[in-house]
Assembly symmetry: C2
Homo-oligomer: 241 residues x 2
């Protein structure tokens, strides 16, 4: 009789580089290294761990790739503050995100725009509102004789909102997600109709701006919800597997 093996965990199948990476992480923790501290050179690590310089280099290269260290000739390597958005960026550059990830990200955008009302009201400045007014006025002029929807103006308005959040992580997130929106925009089979949401029965950019000027966060949220209605409708009616 064959006994079940499903419960047996595969015995650790780590490459040397994997192990070295773990040791390096321990080393950083134990020595309580901070941003700006420099670390021993490759050869010293190699001797200390008893492996070749090649392996050390590959492990360090991983850290460099995720932005945890930087290296310079002659000066050695220094711990740096990783840019959490950067890798995200790279992954997207390779155009390898699947359908599900793209959908998730699009939903994420809706969530973010719905959720940032309070930050906007807490941090808005006169200059911000003036800038928004310019954007909206420009859009109104350009679109007054057409139903055409300008993605450029759309991005300008919503991008400014992200900027006003004064949260640079959020802001970079938005920058980075723009190509994804374009992709979703371009690949929606139901046509562009859905995207003309700044006209007609929905809340316009001008409406949003007016609320931002003398309304409150709660009102803004509900207005934004209406503004984004076509997107929500599409997203919420799409059955997720």
């Amino acid at each position: 009789m064959k006994t079940k093996l499903s419960k047996m965990a595969p015995l650790e199948n780590l490459s040397l580089v994997d192990k070295v990476e773990i040791r390096l992480k321990e080393y950083f923790k134990e020595n309580n290294l901070k941003i700006g501290d420099s670390i021993p050179k490759e050869l010293e690590f190699a001797q200390a761990l008893g492996v070749s310089r090649t392996v050390i280099r590959e492990a360090l290269l991983r850290l460099r790739t995720i932005g945890v260290i930087q290296s310079k000739k002659r000066s050695g390597m220094v711990l740096t503050q990783p840019d959490i958005i950067q890798n995200f960026e790279k992954a997207i550059e390779y155009n390898l995100l699947g359908e599900e990830a793209l959908t998730d990200i699009f939903e994420l955008r809706l969530i973010l725009e719905m959720g940032m009302a309070d930050l906007l009201f807490a941090r808005k400045t006169k200059a911000d509102l003036d800038a928004l007014d310019k954007i909206v006025s420009k859009q109104e002029i350009e679109e007054q004789n057409t139903v055409l929807f300008s993605l450029k103006n759309e991005i300008a308005f919503h991008g400014k909102l992200y900027e006003m959040s004064n949260n640079s992580t959020l802001q970079r997130f938005q920058d980075l997600l723009l190509p994804v929106f374009n992709y979703v925009h371009d690949n929606m089979p139901q046509g562009a109709e859905d995207f003309k949401y700044s006209k007609g029965k929905f809340v316009t950019h001008r409406d949003l701006l007016n609320i931002l000027i003398d309304g409150d966060a709660e009102t803004f949220r509900e207005a934004m919800r209406n503004h984004l209605e076509p997107h929500f409708e599409r997203v919420l009616n799409t059955v997720k597997s």
Copy 2:
């Protein structure tokens, strides 16, 4: 007389590996490679580009680190769908995020929880609500004779909300951010008082659950806003540089 040099741009200072990485990216684009496709072996790339295998390996290792390719002995390398959260994770593991990034991320959490109301109402199931009820009841029993705030129950409740969003990117984001919340929680000098927000004048988990059962998204948003009030108060009153 000294002429100004400010206009001179530094001439490109890319390492060989940098250049190879760019070429690889071009290669993927030109050949329109998709997830699952396999790519030539290291030696072939080395010969084609006229560089050593070492350089190719380092460039490919970068791709592997960000999850764009996977390698297996003998089978070569295959394009894979990068896990956009994974690198995030790694960066955080190294405990190298600065104060600003942590603050940003904490704000991001507030934004997300405020923004996901519509998704919750669109996707809630009976099973979800039952599960939430269990969590809340457990919390009520444990905390009935104390003002002590249990971070564990807090995480269980809010974590379940993320789960209900049915957006796995969002969900993993939350998993990953938990240590950051703990960090912020542990390092708040004003003490734990602020965090007992599920008692007293604020909206409780039970309130939120009831709204989730027979309320609507708008009501839920405002309730969540009140529920998160202590956090918002702290965040919005902190002047960002």
